[in-house]
Each structure stands twice: as C-alpha cells, then as structure tokens.
C-alpha cells in the first residue's frame, strides 16, 4: 500500500478515511484532525491557558505532544490515585514524558488528601469507578480554577465518545445527551472542558504514539474489570468494519443534529447547580459528591 499523500510506502491504513499514510504524512494527518477539531468547534485559542489531564495512557500523552507541538500554552496535571498495581507506573510515564518534552507538570496525590482509591473502594460499597471518576473530575476542575487555567483538556478519543453516546442513547439519558460533546463551555463554577482528540479513533492515537515514539503506560487498573463501555466499543468495531467511517459520522451527526434537542429539554427540566455548602464546588445537591465521599469515609 502506498501513502495517499506522497506515494511512499504506507505504514498505516485507515479504511474510515479511505487512505494510507507513511510516517511523516501520518503525523500531518493527525495534526490536521486535531486542528480541525479545535477550529470547527472553537475549543480554544493561543490566548487560553490550558491544563491537560494526564493519565499516562496513550491518548492523554498524544494530546499533550500535539498541543505542545502546535505551540499552545499548556501544562499537565496528573492525579496519583494510590493504586499499588497501576498508579506508580502511570505516574512514572507522565513524569518522564513531561521531562522529555519540557511540559510543566503538577501531581495531586489522593493519598495525601485522604482519598486513596483502594481505601475508598474498601470503605464505600458503591461501584469504585463511579467514585473514582467523581474524585478525578472534582480535582481536575478545582485545580484548573484555583490555578488560573481557563481550559481543561482531556484525551478522550472517538471510541470513548461514541461508546458514551451510545450508552446514553440506550438509556435515553437526556441530561447527559444534552451536554455531551467536545466542548463544554465554562459555566456555573465549572471550567471550560475540551476533547481535541474526539475525531481520532483509538487505533489512530495508538499508531500516532508509535510513530511519534511516545512511551505510554499500559498497566491496567486492577479495578477496571467491568469497564463499562468495553462491550459497546466492540460492537462499534464490528459496525465500523462493515461501514468504515460510521463512528465519526454517527458522532458528528449527533453534534450537528441531535444534541440541540436534548440541551433544550435540559434547560426546561434540568436543575441548575449551586455551590456545595462545605467546599463551594458546584452541585445539584446540598453537598457535592466528593464532600459526601469524605463524609462517608469519616463515618466508616
């Protein structure tokens, strides 16, 4: 197979774009997909201060690499969850990456904040991933606001987004459908959230990391066993195989034609968040999720 751009030997074949690319042209392809996302969805500009949530996995590192290369004002934030089997490996990858690419990194240690995930899991009888997700979202948002960042960027890729969308559709989660997308504007005490990799599949970011020689961690979290969207991702792989390009058109179609209806519904029926009575974080209840988790830990 030959590169669609320059006719050299291709190393990546992309049925969804009916294209193949050699290494340099592939890097260019990814860069353009990211630029297109940023421009079309007005995610951010060179004046914004962007904090990137770095998990140590391929997507978040790919995102940081690309935004750094494009010259945006970025810094990294890693949350150390204190899970013995996976957190040290993840943190090590993030620290080495940021050193290598000269990216300013902050690390928040959940252990020091009394929220080590193994402890949370032991003491609170709820699905650990939902608690862990709450804690991470809370600290990413809080860190951004407290430190003068006006944009929080995450490495969610097309597969993540499509799986989430499909899951929300299956249960007609209208509130979640109303605010799903690559851009969530700043409002009600939440910083602006963006997903610049939303046009790239997991396969595409994995190839990107290989070609850009980004060393990422793949020590899986020991609690990810029932990882929620795994099955939907597999379903969509089947569909994409039969109908290349379907994933992206399903998602873009939702953004263009589907989402508005749910946003409107949410404006009519949704509850507007107000500040948590203990910490000020926006919540639809009296205490925010993380304050409730802390409270439960104290009581156990």
């Amino acid at each position: 197979m030959k590169c669609t751009r320059c006719r050299e030997k291709a190393v990546v074949a992309l049925p969804s774009h009916t294209a193949g690319f050699c290494p340099p042209c592939y890097l260019l392809f990814v860069e353009r997909q990211v630029q297109k996302a940023i421009k079309d969805k007005k995610l951010f500009s060179f004046d914004d201060r962007i904090i990137i949530a770095l998990s140590g996995g391929k997507d978040s590192l790919a995102l940081a690499w690309q935004l750094k290369k494009l010259g945006y004002d970025i810094a990294g934030l890693h949350i150390d969850l204190a899970i013995p089997q996976s957190s040290p490996i993840a943190r090590d990858h993030v620290e080495r990456f940021c050193r290598a690419y000269d990216i300013n990194l902050s690390v928040l240690e959940m252990e020091k904040l009394g929220l080590s995930i193994p402890e949370v899991r032991k003491k609170i009888k709820r699905p650990v991933c939902s608690l862990c997700g709450k804690i991470k979202r809370y600290y990413f948002n809080k860190f951004a606001l407290d430190n003068g960042f006006n944009v929080l960027a995450t490495g969610h890729n097309l597969d993540d987004e499509v799986a989430r969308l499909f899951s929300n559709v299956l249960s007609w989660e209208s509130a979640h459908l109303g605010d799903q997308g690559p851009l969530l504007p700043e409002e009600n005490g939440f910083t602006r959230k963006v997903k610049p990799l939303y046009r790239l599949s997991e396969f595409e970011t994995a190839n990107f990391c290989f070609i850009a020689e980004i060393d990422y961690g793949f020590a899986p979290c020991p609690y990810s066993g029932g990882a929620s969207f795994t099955y939907y991702k597999t379903l969509f792989d089947e569909l994409e195989h039969k109908q290349p390009g379907r994933k992206l058109s399903f998602y873009e179609g939702f953004l263009k034609r589907g989402r508005k209806a749910f946003t409107r519904l949410d404006l009519e029926e949704g509850v507007k968040p107000s500040p948590c009575k203990s910490c000020g974080y926006p919540t639809s209840e009296e205490s925010c999720g993380v304050c409730r988790i802390k409270h439960m830990l104290e009581q156990s």
Partner: protein, 64 residues
C-alpha cells in the same frame, strides 16, 4: 512465526498465514484493533509476512 500479543505479552506460534490480514483474522482481530509491528516498523494489512518473522501484535483497546 513467533507472535507476541500485547498487552498480555502472550507468545504464540502461528503457521500458514502469509499476510498481516491473514494473521489478524487468525487472531480474531479487525484491522483497526491492533498495531502489527515487525523490526520496529508498522505493517499495513496487505503486507506479506514470512515464516521466520518475529511479530508484535499490539491491541489498541484501552478498555478500562
């Protein structure tokens, strides 16, 4: 040929396949579910592979 499937790092000996596509089919993978790597180079599905090759099949799913 010797195939290392990542991230599990399981080593499998596979015979009688002559292309990357054939290899992926044998492993039950779609072409966009794994990177196929030989001598630190990525291979597209149409590439031929040979009996003495050592190949890494790196599944891309970060399912978790």
């Amino acid at each position: 040929m010797q195939i290392t499937v990542q991230p599990e790092n399981k080593i499998r000996d596979i015979t009688r396949v002559s292309s990357v596509l054939g290899l992926l089919n044998r492993l039950g993978l779609k072409t966009t579910q794994a990177l196929v790597i030989r001598d630190n180079q990525l291979l597209t599905p149409d590439q031929p592979i040979f009996k003495d090759d050592r190949i890494i099949v790196r599944k891309v799913a970060s399912r978790g």
